[in-house]
């Protein structure tokens, strides 16, 4: 009975996605020839695989470096984590694109030196190798991993580190050999989610990625939204290719893990202490920390500037400003925000409950949790929408939001949940506590920081849903995001920027509140506390 109950959320999650997937498989019939013949298919696949893998590897390395060495800027970065996490991917991408554009502020600063009277004809945004896309992903995913690492880094790991510090290793190596393997075990699933996200992202890929060809995920969306409506089959076939590509990447990642483990063993065998490594690594970590602060902040400020910018003739350093766009935007926001908030709260609460139920057991079915993360939404959502027709719009939309929030909640909770020391439960049980009491009074409170972080992530995920909201509600539930995406196809950059910032507001509050749940170490341990 219990086994059935704990598997139920997984099945509930998988059913609609599987049904949507089935629709995709059926639709793809007859379109495979066209899909294989897609111009630049191999490059599109590479533009999905390489930035995804590279960004995950770099983000994880930077997370480790910053946690190990706590370089200058760490505190500031931790304080800003909530804001960076709340910033939608598309908003960060827009800000970065504007920063780097030949008509952007950097080009304006150097224009007098270069004698530019007009924006230089340089391909800075959308480079053919996807470097800009990789950078954008790193900037967005490192804060995500840092947040989860801070939540998962319990006192047990800190004690280990203290003991290890007596062996005389350098801090970086000590972290890599002692703490990182244990921490990584708790973070593994979110790391894989980051990898899958980086490969399937549409909004970042469309803004920062190249267009000839675009990353595979963007090509899927292009096919699905083709004006002649004939691209459904092609989109389905490409999406199934994308699915295989993600599977390949996950397999490659296992190789990366094995390589890292082998490297660690080799270092131990050689008796490396890495004492001299700390100084150069610290310089690198410092650079990383400040970049992680400065670039998103610059992107965010530019976005804010855009809200009040009418026009910015080149090479002026100051744009023509006006509050008029802001005045037009603000009155429209409250009803949109109300819908976003209601959906976010309800779907996160439901998803949290389902995730906790699912975590009461272990099962092979857990692999199903990956489906909504690695499948491009545009492929299986129309299928689900078809199944949900007739269901009242609010419930249908809520169900879809739960479908997308649940995997993220489960993945961010599973590690810390399973790392919880079961002996505490045994002790409590010998003292006469019932299983329910142990859950409610012991385990959940001890995991409060992770629960809070997961809740905030759920709210961010729900707030960011565009296609799910539009298709499920039949347009009956306009949210900040549906409005923002609709406007992003239009000419008014000020409005686009305003909506992108408004979209960030709800998750920002959620992350800020989550941060108060003893999320971050009360005081990052400075060098003084360590030998």
């Amino acid at each position: 009975m219990r086994a059935v109950l704990t598997r139920l959320p997984l099945v509930l999650l998988a059913l609609p996605v599987a049904a949507g997937l089935l629709v995709a498989v059926i639709q793809s019939q007859g379109a495979w020839g066209e899909a294989w013949a897609l111009p630049g298919l191999m490059r599109a696949a590479r533009l999905s695989l390489v930035p995804g893998l590279a960004a995950t590897l770099v983000a994880l390395t930077l997370t480790g470096l910053i946690l190990a060495l706590e370089p200058p800027g760490t505190r500031t970065l931790f304080r800003l984590l909530a804001a960076f996490l709340a910033l939608p991917h598309a908003a960060l991408a827009l800000g970065l694109a504007f920063l780097a554009a030949p008509s952007g502020p950097i080009a304006r600063l150097v224009a007098p030196l270069m004698g530019w009277q007009a924006p230089p004809d340089l391909l800075t945004v959308g480079d053919p190798n996807g470097l800009g896309l990789t950078l954008g992903l790193i900037l967005k995913e490192t804060p995500f991993l840092l947040l989860l690492a801070l939540a998962a880094r319990g006192p047990d790991l800190r004690r280990l580190d203290l003991v290890a510090s007596t062996f005389g290793h350098g801090r970086a190596l000590r972290f890599a050999l002692i703490e990182a393997p244990l921490l990584y075990r708790r973070l593994r699933l979110p790391v894989l989610a980051v990898l899958a996200y980086g490969m399937t992202t549409v909004d970042m890929g469309a803004i920062l990625g190249p267009g000839l060809p675009a990353p595979l995920s963007v090509e899927v969306t292009r096919a699905a939204t083709r004006a002649d409506l004939g691209g459904e089959g092609l989109a389905a076939a490409l999406a199934l290719m994308q699915l295989a590509l993600v599977a390949l990447a996950l397999a490659l990642w296992r190789g990366v893990e094995a390589l890292a483990a082998a490297l660690a063993r080799a270092l131990v065998a050689r008796g490396a202490r890495g004492v001299g490594w700390d100084a150069p690594l610290r310089a690198l970590a410092t650079l990383a920390a400040w970049s992680l602060i400065a670039l998103p902040l610059a992107a965010l400020s530019l976005l804010a500037l855009r809200v009040v910018t009418l026009r910015w003739p080149f090479p002026d350093l100051v744009p023509l400003l006006s509050l008029r766009p802001l005045g037009q935007t603000l009155p429209a926001l409250p009803p949109l925000a109300a819908n976003s908030l209601a959906l976010a709260l309800a779907s996160t609460a439901l998803a949290l409950a389902l995730a906790l139920i699912a975590l009461q057991g272990r099962s092979r079915l857990e692999a199903l949790i990956w489906l909504p993360l690695i499948l491009p939404q545009v492929v299986f959502l129309p299928g689900i929408a078809r199944l949900m027709i007739g269901v009242e719009p609010w419930s249908a939309t809520l169900a879809a939001h739960v479908t997308f929030a649940l995997p993220y909640l489960w993945l961010s909770l599973a590690g810390p949940w399973r790392a919880w020391n079961p002996r505490l439960a045994q002790v409590a049980a010998t003292l006469g506590a019932s299983p329910a009491r142990i859950l409610w009074r012991l385990r959940l409170p001890m995991l409060a920081p992770s629960l809070a972080a997961a809740t905030a992530i759920g709210i961010a995920v729900s707030t960011g849903q565009y296609l799910a909201t539009l298709l499920m509600s039949g347009g009956r539930l306009p949210t900040l995001t549906t409005e923002a995406v609709a406007l992003s196809t239009g000419p008014d950059r000020a409005l686009v920027a305003a909506l992108a910032l408004a979209q960030a507001a709800l998750p920002l509050v959620a992350f800020a509140l989550a941060a108060r749940v003893k999320l971050f170490p009360s005081r990052p341990q400075g060098p003084k506390e360590r030998p």
Binding site: P39, S103, P210, A227, D228, A385, R386, S488
Partner: protein, 389 residues
């Protein structure tokens, strides 16, 4: 003026109560909520639809704008509803044209015919503006009702450059001004419209554009583009995504010549303060491609009566004149202004043209949209040639 026209005019002029006696649909539509699925990218258009909602409210109809990023999103919904056998659909009215319309009509997803029985239909200039009844060579047959005319116009910053008046002159201009011209990446419709305009200039017999595409018919296009691309923005290694992205390049001074499908776009953007005051529009010798935007009603609309009343409202001189106002939308009307009664004609004559808009006479001849098969063929071939980088 025949009796039907008179009735229609009376209907448009009289207060709602009296109108109801001439068109019983009004009574059945009263109290309905009409969900209008329309592209929501442009705040000017969104504001206009909100204003239209106030007009509809006077007729007892609640008009709700569902803002789409792409019309295909709404078509996908209707299609899914048909597959599921849903009778009370989510979409009542949809802003549509071209391939989306062709697909919906072919799949039986549309309600109608209804357009030609609308009381305001006789005001439509079907003879002078054949695009109001022919959507990309496909006869509309009353399954969609026109709401605005669009025509390709080019835009240039008159402070910095002259206007080349033909496609070949434009190519020479691009050579002389490297990096200052580009077009949206196909399959974007505006990018394809540019390519179709090029075809009009290059084909020995442009009349073949009105028949279905045959293998190789577009051949003259490729040597022309091969020669043009190295002189485009980013040397043709990247293209803007869509019309707004193209307009943004002009606004930021990255390009000096641009184009749009709304002859009033430049004026409206100048009025909004987003475009340099020196931008002007021009058309090409021999004419530019034009088409119409329509509204259609899905087969399973929950409020088909209300949707028809709104479609009719859109054809009223008051609404059409407001849409043509350069400070509002700058869309060209679908009505035959010359044959409107004095008071209605005055509405149009009083409209300011805006600093950058050409007068209807200066807009020149309208070239018909090629058969829809050209779009798919050119788009596919373009992607095969240039899409792999």
């Amino acid at each position: 003026m025949n009796r039907r026209q008179t009735l229609a005019l009376l209907a448009a002029l009289l207060p709602a109560r009296a109108f109801a006696q001439t068109w019983d649909l009004l009574d059945r539509a009263r109290g309905q909520e009409v969900f209008f699925h329309a592209w929501g990218g442009d705040p000017k258009i969104n504001d206009f639809i909100a204003w239209l909602g106030e007009e509809a409210a006077a007729l007892g109809i609640t008009l709700t704008h569902v803002k789409l990023a792409a019309t295909a999103d709404a078509v996908a919904r209707v299609r899914a509803e048909k597959a599921a056998g849903a009778t009370k659909g989510a979409v009542d009215l949809i802003w549509i044209n071209g391939e989306n319309f062709a697909a919906m009509k072919a799949e039986g997803l549309l309600f109608g015919p209804f357009a030609e029985s609308l009381p305001n239909w006789p005001l439509v200039d079907t003879r002078g503006k054949p695009a109001t009844v022919t959507d990309f060579t496909l006869p509309t047959e009353g399954y969609e009702s026109p709401w605005a005319m669009a025509q390709l116009v080019f835009e240039h910053d008159s402070a910095q450059t002259e206007a080349p008046r033909s496609i070949l002159a434009l190519a020479d201009w691009a050579k002389a001004n490297p990096g200052r011209f580009t077009y949206p990446q196909p399959p974007d419709y505006l990018g394809l419209t540019f390519l179709k305009q090029v075809l009009y200039a290059l084909l020995p017999d442009p009349a073949i554009l009105q028949s279905p595409w045959v293998e190789g018919a577009e051949a003259p296009l490729w040597p022309f583009l091969d020669a043009l691309h190295p002189h485009l923005w980013r040397q043709g290694r990247a293209f803007p995504r869509d019309e707004p992205a193209l307009g943004q390049l002009l606004a930021e001074g990255e390009t000096l010549i641009s184009f749009a499908f709304n002859p009033g776009r430049a004026s409206a953007e100048i009025a909004a303060g987003r475009l340099a005051e020196t931008v002007r529009t021009f058309v090409l010798e021999g004419g530019t491609i034009g088409n119409a935007s329509f509204v259609a009603i899905p087969f399973n609309a929950s409020a088909p009566e209300g949707a028809q009343v709104v479609a009719n409202l859109i054809l009223s001189p008051k609404v059409q004149a407001r849409a043509q106002d350069a400070t509002v939308l700058g869309f060209q009307t679908v009505l035959d202004v010359a044959s409107l009664p004095e008071a209605d004609r005055a509405l149009f004559e009083a409209l300011p043209l805006g600093p950058a808009t050409l007068s209807p006479a200066d807009l020149g001849p309208v070239l018909l949209e090629p058969h829809a098969s050209w779009m798919a063929a050119v788009s596919g071939a373009w992607t095969r040639r240039y899409g792999a980088g």
